[in-house]
C-alpha cells in the first residue's frame, strides 16, 4: 500500500481531482455502454415476443371470423 490513510488515498498527493476525474469518467463510460448494450438486447427480445403475440391474435381473430 502506497498510502498512509484513506484520506491520503483520496487526496492522491494533491492530484486527487484529476485522478478521480479520469477514473470516474472512465467507469461511467464503461458502465454506460455495458448497460445500454444489455438493454438493447432485452428490448429487441421483447419486441420479437410482442410481434409473435400480435400475429397469434390476428390468426385467432381470423379463425373466429370464419366461424
Amino acid at each position: 500500500m502506497q498510502f498512509e490513510s484513506f484520506s491520503d488515498f483520496i487526496a492522491m498527493g494533491g492530484y486527487g481531482f484529476f485522478v478521480w476525474l479520469s477514473y470516474g469518467s472512465c467507469a461511467a463510460i464503461l458502465a454506460g455502454i455495458l448497460i445500454s448494450s444489455l438493454n438493447d438486447g432485452k428490448k429487441l427480445k421483447k419486441e420479437v415476443k410482442a410481434q409473435m403475440l400480435r400475429e397469434e391474435r390476428i390468426k385467432k381473430a381470423k379463425e373466429e371470423a370464419k366461424v
Binding site: M1, Q2, F3, F9, M12, G13, G14, Y15, F18, V19, L21, S22, Y23, S25, C26, I29, L30, G32, I33, L34, S37, L38, D40, G41, L44, K45, E47, V48, K49, Q51, M52
Partner: protein, 245 residues
C-alpha cells in the same frame, strides 16, 4: 482446412458462438479490471517526477491502445465483409464501432485530466491529440453512415468503405510523436529495445490493457448478438429462442 469455419457464417451459429465466448471474456475483464485498478491506484509506487498524478496512465494507455486496436479489428471485419460478402462481418463492424468510440473518448478525457496538471492545459492542438480526436470522428462517422441509410445492404457497404479508408489515421496516430514535435511524450512500452517503465508499474499496466481488451470483447459480443437478432428477427430460430426464454 478452413472448412470448420463455414458454419459460423450462419447467423444462428454465430449467435451461439457469441454466447459461448461471453462468460470467458466477462471473467477475464472483471478480474483484470479489479486487480489492475486496485494495483494501479493503491499499490504501484508513485512516479518520481509526476507523483500520484501519473496513476492516470493505468487507464489512459490501455484505452488509447484499445481505441486503435478496436479500429484495426473493425477495419479487418470491414475488408472481410466487402471481399467475401459475409453479413456477419458487416454486423461485427457495427458492433465494434460504439465500444471503439468509447475507448477513444476515455483516452481523450483521461488525457485532458492528465494534461491539465502536467502541461497546464486541458487541450492543445498537438498532432497526437488531434489525430486521436479524428479517430473518434471516424468511429462516429462509421456509425452515423450506417444509420443514415434505410437500405441496410447499402448502409453496410458504405460504413465498411469508410472504416477501411480511415485506417490511414492509425499510423498517423502511432508515429505522430516521432514525425512532429509534440507536447505528448513518445512511446513508453512499445519501444522494442528497452522499455522506459519500471516493472512495478509495467505489470499493473499490462493487466489493465488485458482488462480493457476483455471489455472491448464483451461489448462487441453483446452488440453483435443484438445486431444478429435485429437482422434476423423474422426468422424461426430467433422466434424459438425468444419463446424459450
Amino acid at each position: 482446412m478452413w472448412k470448420w469455419l463455414h458454419p459460423y457464417a450462419k447467423a444462428d451459429r454465430a449467435y451461439q458462438l457469441c454466447n459461448t465466448l461471453l462468460p470467458y471474456f466477462a471473467v477475464i475483464t472483471v478480474v483484470c479490471l479489479v486487480v489492475g485498478w486496485v494495483w494501479g491506484l493503491a499499490f504501484a509506487p508513485a512516479d518520481y517526477q509526476q507523483k500520484d498524478s501519473y496513476r492516470i496512465i493505468f487507464i489512459h494507455v490501455p484505452s488509447a491502445i484499445l481505441s486503435m486496436g478496436a479500429y484495426s479489428s473493425m477495419a479487418i471485419a470491414a475488408i472481410v465483409a466487402l471481399v467475401w460478402q459475409l453479413r456477419n462481418a458487416e454486423l461485427a463492424v457495427i458492433a465494434i464501432a460504439p465500444v471503439g468510440a468509447a475507448m477513444t473518448a476515455i483516452a481523450l478525457i483521461t488525457g485532458a485530466a492528465w494534461g491539465k496538471p502536467m502541461w497546464g492545459a486541458w487541450w492543445v492542438w498537438d498532432a497526437r491529440l488531434t489525430s486521436e480526436l479524428i479517430l473518434l470522428f471516424l468511429y462516429l462517422g462509421v456509425l452515423s453512415l450506417y444509420h443514415a441509410f434505410e437500405d441496410k445492404k447499402a448502409a453496410g457497404k458504405a460504413a465498411c468503405i469508410l472504416a477501411i479508408v480511415g485506417v490511414i489515421n492509425l499510423p498517423i496516430i502511432h508515429f505522430s510523436v516521432e514525425w512532429w514535435n509534440t507536447l505528448h511524450q513518445g512511446a513508453t512500452i512499445t519501444k522494442f529495445d528497452t522499455s522506459a517503465i519500471d516493472p512495478s508499474m509495467l505489470w499493473p499496466l499490462f493487466i489493465n490493457i488485458a482488462g480493457f481488451a476483455g471489455f472491448v470483447g464483451v461489448i462487441t459480443l453483446i452488440r453483435l448478438k443484438n445486431e444478429i437478432l435485429q437482422r434476423e428477427k423474422h426468422r424461426p430460430w430467433v422466434r424459438s429462442l425468444v419463446s424459450r426464454g
